[in-house]
Assembly symmetry: C2
Homo-oligomer: 469 residues x 2
């Protein structure tokens, strides 16, 4: 019997052995859910396939298409009421050759640097781009330096993430605009290229990619943009402290292609009492291409899939319609999230709640919640149910990029908040790989999500239908 | 300038740049401590040396002696009031050759298994030990099977840690007696050897060592004991389901030597107001030999060292005497912990509080506290100060093995409780290595410990002297 047969049999057996939850208290049901995930979870096995058999899944790539077909087929095995693909046109950007970069010391020594093109960047000329480097730590410095100092140069944004913030997401937010908008700002002063310090709190040799944009810059004004590893950023900055006129050469052959057809993958358990009230749980199926996208966002994808499976495994028949949505193209376009919300609106589907997992498969700490004060208080009433699982974080804040377009005046959105300390060590880099995910941490996340979905489904929010049973 | 000079200068500079905390609120001081650790912590650099330059530090080994000298020298650089070595005789057990093991299928095929001797075990005969295997999951099964079934065989304890417990420590406690006492119990029924399933929740090929004991068994009755990897335990168990008379062969050349002289490493900041009240923070300097002991307990050692450094760096002059104690021989004897407590008692030193970190350098979640209800309530009053750092766990329970002997009727002990999900993936195995420690997680632990020490020193407990200033 080969490995995949064994896996398939285990999957089927687990689904057959439903636990009857009628008569259980919420404490007992949540315990049932966590035990189901830790004893019989399937998220880690799915992630193994997504990461190791498929790999990085950049929108429009062959791997992204494989991931669509694989997750659809896996959802179909779960005995859901409906599984389908929702078409969406997505941008297709390709990296091309491995990027190269080096700078020249005053004595002519070439010092190689680890760089990668930022997603969406134009290529350099085929022979590469060579120009003097000018270092800045923020946009206001560009203005102070002005066109005289910047024209014809490569702007080096060297803004480290703030180490003493406890939430690394907050530290990321303080720097991400330099990656996204660095080129547009630098072009204003005549820069010919941009090199941005990788958005990581680790000191290492890995460049971290991520999306950048040119806003409405005409094609001929677009300049190539790359990320440089934190170690190389530190070293280059040291050199620039004492040397004038350091030149940097880099080469990238990335290309923006025409949009291609792709899909959101959707599965649902139809609600028994309020089938027209929708609860969404999801993550994004696309990933960057340098690693295999295990944390970003393979973890969120497989956890979301397992939410529906764990509900069934725990013998829970939802009153409302529970949908898993595996969004396409979060990383460089958000087309999937926008299309899902557009279609939902067009069909008049009442989405009462959506939950996203897109911050890695680390030990879950709680949720960030977008809700009215009244609905937030409702969620806080459930907080004690999560205490045995060391889930304490229930704070108002953002939720997730893909579900964001679903927000309206009355519904509630939430984002799973895993421990954030290691997330940016791997984010958008070559080490975002399966071995960096711990099975139990991933499964605890899936159980935490399932428990919240169970409670929202059971009790609803202020604007949802009252409970009838 | 070489790497170590740079490190030394950074260390000195950091100590010079003291922050004045007078007039700060506790919220501000705790913020100062966390920022000091995340921006200027030294725990990770110390751990780098301890793990990568020294390595595994089994009691009585040359590496253990190097670790004593290194940490003493590093403490001496911190400008403490006193640094000294406390002599203690420790057991010396040596592993010898790399262990080998295999079992024989009915068709004669030899299947190799990954094993390692348990610490304290006697060797096999030099040619190895070969005998039939009998599998049990608990001690009561030994009794049911009886001498007829067990005599002359190798007992295979195959008790998996319980996956659906949230605390992996609890899962460990449910199995660790099979490792420690497995030989003594099996000998009662005439077993000739013991193979124990590794105490890990991961399915992998790494055997996990750890201490075992023979109680008062005479030497000639002691039987060799080894751990087998979880993957190999699963495979062997599968084979035993369908095959009779499976024989296993294993060889280990470990030896118990005479006790040798070693040391606890101690440093202190003498209290300004109550110098005769002692607060201890510590971890254990010895480790198992398969990895480099980064999590167990290099992390606790360097965090404890940094507690004193971070207090100074944050401009805090303690009222009570704060001692860092790096205990020797926690793993296979606890001689250091016992000796420290013996000497403290002999000298009449009043130890009002002790804190240990010995559960890995993972994101801190809080503390387990051994205290009277009144002193526990005092600690709970400080809980809100930790909320911004996502430290929520403040529960009554055990503290730490090394500080345990210090407990008396009135004092308070506590153990740092880091996230436990990954701890036993690495515990006592070859992958307990530096790369498995995240710098920020380690530093957050050091800051969390420092903050509690700061508060205990400032406010004292019920039995401590009242605050005079």
């Amino acid at each position: 019997m080969n490995r995949f047969n064994v896996k398939q049999i285990m999957l089927t057996m687990a689904l057959v052995c439903n636990v009857i939850v009628s008569g259980q208290t919420d404490e007992e049901t949540v315990r049932t859910i966590y035990s189901a995930s830790l004893n019989n979870g399937y998220s880690y096995q799915w992630l193994d396939h997504l990461s190791n058999a498929i790999g990085g899944r950049l929108s429009g790539s062959e791997n992204a298409e494989k991931a669509v077909q694989y997750t659809k087929a896996e959802l179909e095995k779960l005995g859901l009421d409906k599984v389908w693909l929702q078409p969406v046109m997505v941008p297709k950007w390709v990296r091309g050759d491995k990027e190269t970069g080096y700078y020249f010391l005053e004595d002519g020594t070439k010092v190689p640097v680890n760089i990668c093109a930022l997603g969406g960047s134009v290529p350099t000329p085929n022979e590469g781009l060579r120009a003097e480097v000018i270092e800045v730590t923020d946009f206001s410095q560009l203005e102070q330096l002005g066109e005289d100092a910047i024209k014809g140069k490569i702007v080096f944004y060297n803004r480290p993430m703030q180490a003493d913030l406890i939430s690394t997401l907050e530290a990321y937010s303080g720097c991400s605009s330099y990656r996204y908008a660095g080129a547009v700002e630098a072009v204003k002063y005549g820069a010919v290229g941009v090199i941005t310090r990788s958005l990581s709190l680790r000191q290492d040799d890995l460049p971290h990619t991520g999306s950048m944009g040119y806003a409405d810059l005409p094609n001929e004004k677009r300049i190539p943009s790359a990320a440089i590893s934190t170690n190389d950023a530190n070293a280059l900055s040291e050199v620039l402290k004492t040397s004038e006129d350091i030149e940097l050469h880099f080469r990238q052959t990335c290309q923006q292609m025409d949009d291609v057809l792709s899909y959101n993958v959707i599965g649902e358990i139809t609600g028994s009492t309020y089938p027209d009230e929708y609860i969404v749980v999801g993550g994004h199926l696309d990933s960057w291409d340098l690693g295999d996208g295990s944390h970003d966002d393979g973890a969120g994808v497989v956890q979301s899939m397992d939410v529906l499976r764990l509900l069934k495994l725990s013998g829970i028949q939802p009153k409302r319609t529970i949908r898993v949505v595996l969004f396409m193209n979060e990383e460089n376009g958000l087309r999937g999230g926008r299309e899902y919300a557009r279609v939902a609106k067009e069909k008049g589907e009442n989405h009462v709640f959506a939950l996203e997992s897109d911050l890695g498969g680390f030990t879950p700490r709680g949720f960030s919640i977008q809700a009215s004060e009244q609905d937030y208080q409702r969620i806080l009433e459930w907080k004690s149910l999560f205490k045995p699982y060391l889930i304490h974080y229930f704070e108002l804040g953002g939720s997730g990029a893909d579900i964001g377009p679903l927000k309206n005046d009355t519904n509630v959105l939430a984002g799973l908040r895993p421990d954030s300390q290691r997330y940016f060590d791997h984010h958008h880099a070559a080490n975002d790989t399966f071995d960096a995910v711990n099975k139990r941490e991933l499964e605890l996340g899936a159980a935490t999500m399932t428990s919240l979905i169970y409670l929202v489904d059971k009790y609803g929010f202020n604007q949802s239908s009252p409970i009838k049973d």
